[in-house]
C-alpha cells in the first residue's frame, strides 16, 4: 500500500502509523453532552466503500494525515494534512 504524504510525496505504508477513523478530528465541546462524546469516542461506521482515516507519518515528517480510501477496492482517493481539513 502506498500513501501520498502531502509533505513528502508517495511513500510505503510502513512509514505510517495507523490511528483510526477521522472522526477524531471533530472533538466536541467539553459540555457537548454524553451522546456527542459517546459518538466521538466510540461509535464508528463500517462502510463498504469510501472511508476516511488518520495516519501519522511517524517515520517521516511527523504529519497527521487524513486518507480517503475505499475499503472495497483499496483505492486511495485523497490524502490531506489533518491540520488543513475543515471541521
Amino acid at each position: 500500500m502506498r500513501i501520498t504524504c502531502p509533505h513528502c510525496g508517495e511513500r510505503d505504508r510502513r512509514e505510517f502509523y495507523y490511528q483510526g477513523d477521522a472522526v477524531a478530528l471533530a472533538r466536541p465541546a467539553p459540555d457537548a453532552g454524553a451522546q456527542a462524546w459517546d459518538d466521538y469516542l466510540h461509535n464508528r461506521d463500517n462502510p463498504a466503500g469510501d472511508t476516511q482515516d488518520l495516519w501519522f507519518h511517524e517515520a517521516g515528517c511527523g504529519a497527521w494525515i487524513v486518507v480517503t480510501r475505499n475499503t472495497v477496492t483499496h483505492a486511495v482517493a485523497d490524502t490531506k494534512l489533518a491540520a488543513m481539513v475543515k471541521r
Binding site: E10, F56, T73, A82, A83
Partner: protein, 968 residues
C-alpha cells in the same frame, strides 16, 4: 537422452546416485537426459510420478535440495539449476523412491477418495486429534523441514519504475523494447534463467531469423539501455495495492557461496504490463499420471532448448493445432514419433508418422515408467508402445496476477479459456498469450501496442515497429475428461481426480469454492495453476452448468511459493527487535549486570557483587544503598520531549489534567495525562526551564505514544497553540542519584557545589558538570532525597562511571530495575503495571488532579458516571499477613470466605515486591471499593502458579507516608 554430446558437464547427485548435467540447465533436463523417469511420489496415494512440465508450474517433480539445516524441501526440479556437487533428494517415499511402503495407499484408494476422513474418522471423537490426524499427516505429504535454524542468506529489496513488465517472452520483450526505446524507466522480470520465453523453446522465425536469436538480440539491446533493468530468475508473485508488486529472485541461481539464496523484491511501478504467457493444461484420461506422460510444450522445450529427448518413442495427444508442433519438432530432432493423436475429427495432418484423428487415449500401462498407451479410434481400441506421451488439452492464459485484487477472469468460448477481465488490477495491462493472443505475431503486436500506450501516458513519444512472425490461428475443440475406467488425474500435486470432483458435486458441494475445499483441488503448493480450469470444466459437466456460469475460485498471491525466510529477510533477531542501548550499557555489562528488555531498550536488572548468589541479595542490598546511603540509576530511557513556544504552557495545560501554566520557571511538576476516553495514558514530570521552554518526561513504554499524541493535539485539535515539540530522549543521558547522601554525591561532580536550600524539592535548572552544561532536577521516584542529573549523551558513559565510583566510596552504588521497582512499590508509585489502559484517575486516587479551571484531554469523559463509580476497582496496597509471604502479580483477590472463582473476584494484584526496608511482602493492586477497605484482610489466589496468601488491604504508600524523606 541427449540429442548432442554436451561440451561441458558437471556432477550432481539424485538420491545419492551420481549424474552429469550441463551447468545452468534444470535438474529436470539432466534427469530426463539420463533416462530417469521416476522422480517423485504423489501427495496422497504415493503414486510413482515423473517430470511433467518445464517451468514453475511443475506439479510432480518436487525435490529436496541439500542436507541438514540447509536442506530446502519442495523445490521444483524444473526450476533448479544443475551445479557441481548439487545434492538432490526425492520426497515422500520410504524406504526408497522405487519401493515406497506407503504406496499401499494407492491400493486402498477406493476408500480414500475426497473427504474420506470427514466420513471415516468420526468416532471416537478424541481419536481425531491424537491418532487419526497425526497418522494421516505422516502418510500424506511433501518434503520435510530440517527443524534446524536456516543458515542460508536471504535478502529483501525495493525497486521503483515507470513500467514493470512481467514476463520476457515475445510480448514482454517487444513491450520492453518499445517502452525502453522511448526512454521509459523499465523493469523487465522473468522467472527463467534467460529471457525469451517460448522463443527459446519453439522452432519459429521472427523477421527471418530464429526466434531465439531475435530474443538474444532484443535482450542485448535492452541490456545496453541505461533506463532498463533486466531481472532474470525473478518471478513476480503478487499484485498489491497502489502499483506494488512482490517478486521473488532466486539470486544464487546455481547456489553460489556468499550470495543470498533468494531476494524478495517489492517493486513499485506507475504502470505494469502482464506478459506472463500461458500454461498448458492436461487432459483427464485414465492413468494420465505415469512417469513419461508430460505436457506437449514441455517436451518441445526439452528437445529444442536443452537438447534432451524425454523419450525414445514419443506419442503426442492433443485437441488443437499447436500440439502438432511437438510431433514435428521431435521428428526434426531425430526422435521417433509413435503416433500423433488428435481428438478432433475435422483436421487433416500430413506426416511421416501414424496419425489418428477423432481418437482419444483411454488407458496407459507401466509401473514406474510409461510403457504403452491404449487409444480408441474409429470404434476400435489400439495399443501403442511408447515411453513418452506428450499431451495438451489447450492453453490457459496466466491470468493469476489480474485476480489478485479479487476480480474474476472472463471466459472466452473460442479459445476455451479464461482471459483477464479489463482493469482487474488498476495499472496492470495484460498483453500477449496471458491475454488470449496465442500467436507470436499477436504477442509482439500486443506487447508493442500496450507499451506504446503506457509510454504515451508517461509523456513519451514511442515508435512502434513490430517484426514479422508466425500468425497461425489457434483452433481448439475442448476436450476435458475422456470417458473410461480408471482414475483420471486433474490436480496431480494434490492427487485429485475426476471422480473426486464428481463426488463433490453429487454430495451437493456444487459451488466451485465448496468443491475446492471438499476435494482439496488447487490447494497444493502450485495452487491449482495447471489444474483449475480442467477441474472447473469437470465440475461444470457434473452439475450441468456452463463453465462461465460455474465460475472460478480466487487466485491469490503468491503465484509461486515464496519462502517465509525471504519475505522476512532482515527481520530476524536484531532485525526484528533492534536494540536500544543506554550510554551506561557497557559499564553495566562490565559490572556483570544481567540486562533486561524494556521495550527495545536494555536496562540493568541488578549489579551483582562478590558473594551474591541470588538476584534478591543484590536487589535487597541496592534498596539498602538508596534508603541508607546513595544509589545511582540510569533513567535515560524515559521519554524526554522538549517543548518550546509562546503557548508551550498552554499545550501542557491541555494534555495534562493539572495546571502547568502556573508553574514557576526553575520548577518541575508531576503531571497526569489521560486519553480522550477518560482513562490514564501516561504520567511523568514536566520541568520549566524558561517562560516558553519545558522538558516533559514520559514513561519508557509510552514515549512514542505520547509524541504522536502531542503532535495530534498541536496539528489537529489545538492549531491555535504556538508551540513546537521535539523528542530529545537520545540526546540526553540522565541518571538518578537517590538516597540520604545524594547531595554529597552530586557535589562531587558539580563545578559549583549546591547547598541544602539551593535546590528544594521539585527544583530544576542548568548546572555545570566538569565544564559541561547539564540539567539538574530535584525529583524522586524512590521516596528519598534524590536528584536526576542529565548531560549530553556523549558524556553519559563517563559520568555514569564517575557517579558509581563516588557512590561506592559513600557506601552506596549502582542500582538496577529490580531495586528501582522495590523502591517505587514501597512508596506506592505507579507504573504501566497499574496504568495499564483500563484505569482512570479516579481508580488510582488522582481524580482531584483533574483541574476544572480548564479543558483538557479526557476531562469530559472522565466525569462519566461509570468512570467514577464507587464500586470500581481502586488502587490499594496489600501486605502479606499470613504464613505465605510470597505475593504474585496478576493474582486475583477474594473475600476470605468466598470461593476463589471468577464471579467472586474482587480485584487483582499488579506489582509485587519483597520489601527489605519493611521486611514484608508487598503488592499494589486494584480492589473493588478498595479505598474504603483499608485494614480488611482478604485472600490472594494465583490460580496459575497455585499460590494463595492472606493480605491486608492498606494505603498504597507503605513507606514514609508523609514524604518527609524526599523533601528533607
Amino acid at each position: 537422452m541427449r540429442l548432442q554430446a554436451p561440451e561441458n558437464t558437471v556432477g550432481f547427485t539424485f538420491d545419492g546416485q551420481r549424474y552429469r548435467g550441463v551447468p545452468g540447465e534444470p535438474v529436470a533436463a539432466a534427469l530426463l537426459a539420463a533416462g530417469v523417469r521416476l522422480v517423485a511420489r504423489s501427495f496422497k496415494y504415493h503414486r510413482p510420478r515423473g517430470i511433467m512440465s518445464a517451468g514453475s508450474e511443475e506439479q510432480n517433480a518436487l525435490v529436496t535440495v541439500g542436507r541438514g539445516a540447509q536442506a530446502e524441501p519442495n523445490v521444483r526440479a524444473t526450476m533448479l539449476e544443475v551445479a557441481e556437487g548439487l545434492e538432490v533428494f526425492s520426497q515422500n517415499a520410504w524406504p526408497s523412491l522405487k519401493h515406497d511402503v506407503m504406496a499401499v495407499n494407492d491400493l486402498a484408494s477406493p476408500f480414500l477418495g475426497a473427504g474420506f476422513y470427514y466420513k471415516t474418522f468420526m468416532w471416537p471423537k478424541p481419536f481425531w486429534e491424537k491418532l487419526y490426524e497425526p497418522v494421516i499427516r505422516r502418510a500424506a505429504g511433501l518434503g520435510g523441514l530440517s527443524g534446524q535454524p536456516n543458515k542460508d542468506r536471504y535478502e529483501k529489496a525495493f525497486a521503483f519504475c515507470d513500467l514493470l513488465i512481467i514476463g520476457a517472452g515475445p510480448a514482454g520483450l517487444m513491450a520492453a523494447l518499445t517502452a525502453g526505446r522511448a526512454g521509459a524507466d523499465v523493469i523487465l522480470a522473468d522467472e527463467d534463467t534467460a529471457m525469451g520465453g517460448r522463443l527459446l523453446r519453439e522452432v519459429e522465425d521472427i523477421d527471418g531469423q530464429p526466434g531465439a536469436d531475435w530474443a538474444a538480440d532484443a535482450v542485448a539491446e535492452l541490456a545496453g539501455m541505461q533506463n532498463v533493468r533486466l531481472m532474470t530468475r525473478t518471478t513476480v508473485t503478487g499484485a498489491y495495492d497502489q502499483g506494488t508488486f512482490g517478486a521473488l529472485e532466486r539470486v544464487a541461481g546455481p547456489r553460489q557461496a556468499r550470495k543470498p539464496l533468494e531476494c524478495f523484491w517489492r517493486i513499485v511501478a506507475k504502470h505494469a504490463i502482464l506478459c506472463a504467457g500461458a500454461l498448458e493444461r492436461p487432459i483427464a484420461f485414465p492413468n494420465n499420471d505415469r512417469p513419461g506422460i508430460m505436457m506437449a510444450a514441455a517436451v518441445r522445450a526439452y528437445v529444442n532448448r536443452w537438447g534432451v529427448a524425454p523419450g525414445k518413442t514419443v506419442t503426442v495427444f492433443g485437441n488443437h493445432d499447436d500440439a502438432h508442433r511437438t510431433a514435428h519438432d521431435l521428428v526434426a530432432a531425430g526422435v521417433k514419433v509413435a503416433a500423433l493423436i488428435d481428438s478432433r475429427d475435422d483436421v487433416e495432418i500430413k506426416a511421416d508418422f501414424p496419425v489418428y484423428t477423432g481418437a482419444q487415449v483411454i488407458g496407459t500401462k507401466g509401473r514406474h515408467a510409461l510403457e504403452s498407451i491404449a487409444i480408441s479410434h474409429g470404434g476400435e481400441t489400439r495399443e501403442i508402445r511408447t515411453d513418452c506421451l506428450a499431451m495438451s488439452g489447450g492453453w490457459n492464459p496466466s491470468v493469476h496476477l489480474t485476480c489478485h485484487m479479487n476480480r474474476r477472469p472472463t471466459w472466452r468460448e473460442e479459445i476455451a479459456s479464461f482471459v483477464p477481465t479489463p482493469e482487474a488490477v488498476p495499472g496492470l495491462m495484460p498483453a500477449g498469450a496471458c491475454n488470449g493472443a496465442f500467436s507470436t505475431a499477436a504477442c509482439l503486436q500486443e506487447g508493442a501496442a500496450v507499451a506504446a500506450d503506457l509510454a504515451r501516458d508517461l509523456g513519451l513519444k514511442p515508435k512502434v515497429t513490430v517484426p514479422v512472425a508466425d500468425d497461425g490461428a489457434y483452433r481448439i475443440t475442448p476436450l476435458w475428461a475422456v470417458p473410461g475406467k480408471g482414475r483420471k488425474w486433474v490436480d496431480f500435486q494434490n492427487d485429485v481426480h475426476v471422480k473426486d470432483i464428481k463426488l463433490a458435486a453429487q454430495e451437493n458441494f456444487c459451488s466451485v469454492e465448496h468443491m475446492k475445499r471438499y476435494t482439496t483441488q488447487g490447494m497444493a503448493p502450485d495452487q491449482g495453476k495447471s489444474s483449475n480450469v480442467l477441474a472447473l470444466a469437470v465440475l461444470a459437466d457434473a452439475t450441468g452448468r456452463g463453465i462461465s456460469e460455474t465460475g472460478t475460485t480466487t487466485f491469490r498471491p503468491p503465484f509461486v511459493p515464496v519462502s517465509i525466510a525471504s519475505m522476512g529477510a532482515g527481520s530476524q533477531g536484531k532485525g526484528f527487535a533492534p536494540e536500544r542501548l543506554t550510554t551506561s550499557h557497557n559499564a553495566s555489562v562490565a559490572r556483570g549486570a544481567p540486562m533486561i528488555e524494556a521495550g527495545l531498550w536494555y536496562r540493568p536488572s541488578y549489579f551483582p557483587r562478590q558473594g551474591e548468589t541470588h538476584w534478591r541479595q543484590s536487589c535487597d542490598r541496592e534498596v539498602g544503598h538508596v534508603r541508607n546511603a546513595v544509589g545511582v540509576c540510569d533513567v535515560s530511557t524515559l521519554g524526554k520531549i522538549d517543548i518550546q513556544g509562546p503557548d508551550a504552557a498552554g499545550l501542557l495545560d491541555f494534555v495534562y489534567t493539572n495546571m502547568f501554566s502556573t508553574l514557576k520557571v526553575g520548577r518541575a511538576r508531576y503531571g497526569l495525562m489521560l486519553r480522550e476516553d477518560g482513562h490514564v495514558m501516561d504520567d511523568g514530570t514536566a520541568a520549566r526551564f524558561g517562560e516558553q521552554h519545558f522538558v516533559m518526561t514520559t514513561t519508557t513504554a509510552a514515549a512514542g505514544q505520547v509524541m504522536r499524541h502531542l503532535e495530534f493535539v498541536l496539528q489537529v485539535l489545538r492549531p491555535d497553540l504556538d508551540a513546537r515539540i521535539m523528542s530529545v530522549t537520545e540526546q540526553w543521558a540522565q541518571f538518578a542519584l537517590a538516597g540520604p547522601y545524594s547531595r554529597t554525591l552530586l557535589n562531587t561532580v558539580l563545578d559549583d557545589p549546591i547547598g541544602g536550600s539551593d535546590w528544594p524539592s521539585m527544583a530544576c535548572g542548568d548546572v555545570q558538570v566538569a565544564g559541561v552544561t547539564g540539567r539538574l532536577f530535584r525529583i524522586s521516584f524512590s521516596g528519598e532525597h534524590a536528584y536526576e542529573l542529565a548531560v549530553p549523551a556523549r558524556y553519559g558513559d563517563s559520568l555514569f562511571r564517575l557517579l558509581v565510583a563516588q557512590a561506592e566510596s559513600l557506601g552506596g552504588g549502582a542500582y538496577g530495575m529490580e531495586a528501582l521497582n522495590v523502591l517505587r512499590i514501597e512508596k506506592g508509585f505507579i507504573t504501566h503495571a497499574e496504568i495499564h489502559g483500563r484505569t482512570t484517575a479516579y481508580d488510582i486516587g488522582m481524580e482531584r488532579m483533574i483541574s476544572r479551571k480548564k479543558d483538557c484531554i479526557g476531562q469530559s469523559a472522565a466525569t462519566r458516571p461509570g468512570l467514577v463509580d464507587q464500586d470500581r476497582d481502586q488502587l490499594v496496597g496489600l501486605k502479606a499477613v499470613g504464613a505465605v509471604k510470597q505475593l504474585t502479580a496478576g493474582a486475583f483477590l477474594f473475600e476470605q470466605a468466598a470461593a476463589p472463582v471468577r464471579v467472586n473476584a474482587q480485584g487483582y494484584t499488579t506489582s509485587v515486591a519483597y520489601s527489605p526496608t519493611l521486611d514484608a511482602g508487598l503488592a499494589l493492586g486494584f480492589l473493588k471499593r478498595g479505598r474504603a477497605r483499608h485494614g480488611e484482610v482478604i485472600r490472594m489466589v494465583d490460580h496459575l502458579r497455585e499460590i494463595e496468601a492472606m493480605v491486608e488491604v492498606c494505603d498504597p504508600v507503605f513507606f514514609d507516608p508523609d514524604g518527609g524523606r524526599a523533601r528533607g
